[in-house]
Symmetry: C2
Subunit: 125 residues, 2 copies
DNA sequence: CAGGATCCTAAAAGATACTG
DNA sequence: CAGTATCTTTTAGGATCCTG
């Protein structure tokens, strides 16, 4: 559906007739992974390798435990991040990108690239 | 700053020490343009060429005038969309992408591409 | 250590009615 | 036509305290 969207954007055709974001639209799917405050930062940290809950918190001091949990739960639910907990006590967790999660890297790079371009482009004309 | 972020993600280095999304971070800048419900859909429509307020509404039936106005105001404020109003009555508007706005096209394409990849990737492993 | 449980505030979205 | 104004609902985010 949004397939046609982009095709439309690229080619100029117009064949679709849908009117709202749906969960099955690729654009919405990708957006879901990077949306929410701190999401891109958490992902960036995980791009470097597995991280524990505390390590992630340490890297993002102003992020509360609750929000980090929400973000991670969401990423895990989307299958882009996996979580393993060590047995024993105290518990240790290790969050890591899954193969799906690695697919997000080019998007993050493009996000950065586009942001830079926007910043260097003089306002309008 | 997020420059180092992506560098970090790409190279594995770690040199930055910031903890929250800031307005001057390229990633946040790019994200601002595509965030908000309907934002990508409005942008997609504009990728085909200038559109009037009503034309945009017609394309996105379940989007209220209020939200469309908010979205457009935001895009105009960010300098990615421009608005011109015809003199006389009844007023006619024409929203169009600026040169900055066109910079978003590759991002939208990448967003779509990544979403597709996520959808076709089997969950985890 | 790694969260869960609550409560609260704020921002975003939606519905409806109205105006220049 | 192209919005504005208002109000209500929904959702996200944050603060604090508590637990396996």
């Amino acid at each position: 559906m949004h397939a046609d969207s982009v095709a439309r954007a690229e080619v100029g055709h117009q064949t679709v007739t849908w009117d709202r974001p749906t969960a099955d639209c690729p654009v919405e799917v990708a957006l879901a992974a990077i949306s929410g405050r701190w999401a891109t930062l958490v992902l960036r940290d995980l791009m470097d390798g597995p991280r524990s809950f505390s390590a992630l918190r340490a890297g993002l001091p102003s992020l509360s435990a609750k929000v980090l949990t929400e973000r991670l739960d969401s990423l895990v639910a989307q299958g882009v991040v996996s979580c393993s907990r060590s047995p024993g006590f105290p518990v240790r967790t290790s969050y890591a990108l899954t193969s799906k999660g690695l697919l997000l890297r080019p998007l993050l790079v493009e996000l950065y690239r586009t942001g830079e371009a926007l910043l260097s482009e003089l306002a309008d004309h």
